[in-house]
């Protein structure tokens, strides 16, 4: 009996020691020192592009849209460079700032990864920006729109999409002028992106703000919010957040007899919003996004390459991936070279003209409003509202 107790204790100590050592070992290598795999232009470096975002979970539809864009870009590149292909490495963070940091650590330790398309959402961008910056790994986000991300001094962080300052202002202006709303009630779900966007909207609304409430992600019972909206006499509701809660909110609002305008931002701009709300309640809802409709043949190309329809952010992710691929084509393989390449890049992507300012924000962007008509999110004919 004594023998087994002693052995057990020894094994436990050995186990803990092994875990501690493995933890120490991984923080070592600074990935920005090496030139990511095979040297120079001679050998094939077997490079890969990482994607980190919400591939599953409450906002999973958005991440899938993004990775499809990346896959299309890489497929097209690989057709032209059959002798030296690039791979896509997906990392599913579920859009959560809790899950993303561990994935970020994995990404910076993978020496074959030349760049990251992502992170998908603002919360995870803020949680992982420092890790990527310290490792020197360049990233281009197709969708993280929170204003404060580009104010952190992370020179490796870029985005190919307009930020929430533009989107929130355009949304508020549309509600008060075009939609003619006199009193707007604002709701958000307290996440970085949602709160950031809602704050911009609240400021832009000024005196037209009728009230404000905050819900939690995963909340299904919105009855208190609905009662508050009705009590405030609001004739429009702006929701900052993602499509699941937006759909549930608009459904419960309509069930309670609220007939005003419902508007939300790009986190809700997905057909899954209509599913969560039910076609009836979703009718007439306005969903804005700093992303316009894709060119005519783009949808077909995405369908042919990955078997799914293009959606919100597919064009942005495609353009982001293509910038990395253009860098590889130009012979840039180290993190610093690729980062400088991105900084000085100008070109026309399928999402629009692309050039980055010194903070990593895209220089030009338009805000589009998509409407739900006849039970479908009309992705072909949005209105430009800025």
């Amino acid at each position: 009996m004594m023998g087994t107790k002693k052995t057990a204790r020894l094994l436990a100590v050995a186990g803990v020691a092994a875990l501690a050592l493995s933890g120490c070992g991984s923080s070592g290598n600074n990935a920005s020192d090496n030139t990511a795999g095979g040297g120079g232009k001679g050998g094939c470096g077997n490079y890969s592009i990482a994607f980190m975002g919400a591939l599953t979970g409450d906002a999973g539809a958005l991440g899938v849209n993004m990775i499809n864009g990346v896959k299309l870009a890489v497929d097209e590149y690989n057709t032209k460079h059959a002798d030296c292909k690039v791979t896509v490495k997906p990392f599913d963070s579920q859009g959560s700032p809790d899950k993303a940091p561990a994935l970020a650590t994995q990404i910076v330790q993978d020496s074959s990864i030349v760049g990251l398309v992502g992170p998908g959402f603002s919360g995870e961008s803020l949680a992982t920006g420092k890790t990527f910056f310290e490792a020197g790994l360049p990233s281009i986000s197709p969708s993280a729109t929170n204003v404060t991300i580009t104010q952190q001094g992370w020179t490796t962080w870029h985005r190919v999409i307009g930020n929430d300052e533009a989107q929130g202002n355009a949304g508020a202006k549309y509600l008060t002028t075009t939609a003619g709303a006199k009193k707007v009630f604002v709701v958000d779900d307290a996440q970085d992106y949602s709160k950031g966007l809602a704050t911009v909207v609240k400021k832009a609304l000024g005196g037209s703000l009728a009230g404000y409430d905050e819900i939690q992600v995963g909340q299904t019972d919105m009855s208190a919010v609905v009662t508050k909206v009705k009590a405030s006499g609001a004739d429009a509701v702006y929701y900052g957040g993602y499509y699941t809660e937006a759909g549930l909110l608009v459904k419960q609002l309509r069930n309670a007899g609220f007939n005003g305008t419902f508007m939300s931002g790009d986190g809700s701009e997905d057909p899954a919003f209509v599913k969560a709300a039910g076609a009836d309640a979703a009718e007439g809802a306005l969903l804005t996004a700093p992303a316009g409709p894709a060119p005519a043949d783009f949808g077909g190309r995405v369908k042919a390459a990955v078997g799914a329809d293009a959606g919100l952010y597919t064009t942005q992710a495609y353009d982001a991936a293509n910038i990395f691929l253009a860098a590889l084509d130009a012979g840039k393989t180290s993190h610093e070279d690729i980062n400088s390449f991105i900084g000085s890049y100008t070109g026309d992507g399928v999402s629009g003209p692309i050039a980055f300012d010194e903070n990593g924000d895209i220089k030009q962007s338009t805000i589009w409003a998509y409407t739900v008509k006849d039970g479908k999110l009309d992705t072909e004919n949005p209105t430009a509202i800025k």
Binding site: G57, D58, A190, T220, M222, T244, L248, A276, G278
Partner: protein
């Protein structure tokens, strides 16, 4: 603190809270019964509820298809009746599976209750992840293509394609009481009544109370304790199935983690009302639902969960045995 917000629409917040409270109460019954009989907190009961919600959605997809439509309660009633029966069966089935796999082997070995609790937590994760991986699991049998309407997007929100539109029946203050609200409250009360009669007046119920009071004496008296435990789990599962149907009636969407927060709240309600006390579960559930909503009005919706748990702590500080206090075993013969 906005008490004016609360008092302006007092009826609305209270009525809304009662509706959710009824759902919490039905789920709380499962926790309270298992605790009363086994002194075990069945943490996996939240997944019993969650499977029920998926069963409801699946019935609608199976009978109607995936077209998004909006029906009145009357039109949806036949499918809803099928759904509630299927949900009750599925929830009861999961509950019985739990009892057989996660608890009975431990009971037989006389394991401490703490071990059974850990087993419950493990079972809870296993069940919710199994739902989240249902596309992979059906893929092993090559069925994921045929069943894609049921298993696709396994980790995403799953919505009932049929939206059941409520109709206003009457008003209390500024709140329009809808037919769905009435159905939920009436159904919950009826199920509660049925359970009360079952436990108080039937032979099985007497068996349950006997095992709750003293398992050894009960088996000496000829009560088959294994059977009684199975029935306890079964009945808890049936209640959760009804709760799941009412939840889907009101909300319409579910996801694989949907059970978690409802389970925690329902457990809180059961403890507040007196764990092991059936009527306590009802009272606890209704009070929790109402106070939560009042809290949302006064402090803001983001404080909803904080209010529920602070209420729990306050009640236990003042009355540690819960509001109604008595345990299942002490109910009148």
């Amino acid at each position: 603190m906005h008490f004016d917000v609360l008092f302006h629409d007092f009826a609305a917040y209270t009525a809304g809270g009662l509706v959710y409270g009824a759902i919490y109460a039905l789920i709380a019954l499962g926790y309270t019964m298992v605790y009363g009989v086994l002194q075990l907190i069945n943490f996996a009961h939240s997944e019993v509820f969650m499977y029920g919600t998926f069963a409801v959605a699946w019935v609608f997809v199976a009978l109607h298809g995936t077209d998004q439509v909006s029906w009145s309660l009357g039109k949806a009633a036949p499918m809803l009746l099928v759904a509630v029966i299927v949900a009750m069966l599925v929830s009861a089935g999961i509950a019985l599976l739990l009892e057989r796999v996660a608890y009975r082997p431990l009971m037989k070995k006389g394991a401490p209750k703490l071990i059974a609790l850990i087993s419950a937590i493990g079972a809870s994760f296993a069940l919710s992840e199994a739902m989240g991986l249902r596309d992979r699991i059906t893929g092993w049998f090559g069925l994921d293509g045929k069943l894609s309407n049921y298993v696709g997007g396994a980790r995403n929100v799953y919505s009932n394609p049929v939206t059941i539109k409520p109709h206003n029946l009457f008003s209390i203050g500024s709140y329009n009481v809808t037919d769905i609200d009435v159905v939920i409250i009436v159904a919950a009360l009826l199920m509660m009544l049925a359970l009360d009669i079952f436990v108080g007046k039937t032979k099985f119920g007497r068996g349950i109370r006997a095992v709750a009071q003293d398992p050894e004496s009960a088996s000496l008296m000829g009560v088959n304790s294994t059977r009684v435990i199975q029935v306890t789990f079964l009945v808890g599962g049936l209640m959760a199935g009804v709760a799941a149907t009412l939840y889907m009636l009101k909300i319409g969407s579910t996801r694989q983690q949907a059970g978690f927060i409802f389970g925690v709240k329902a457990f809180t309600a059961a403890v507040m009302g007196g764990i092991g006390n059936l009527r306590g579960a009802l009272i606890g559930g209704l009070i929790l639902g109402v106070v939560e909503n009042w809290g949302s009005a006064v402090f803001g919706s983001e404080w909803k969960d904080v209010v529920s748990f602070v209420l729990l702590v306050l009640i236990l500080l003042v009355r540690p045995s819960g509001i109604l206090g008595e345990a299942l075993g002490k109910a009148r013969a």
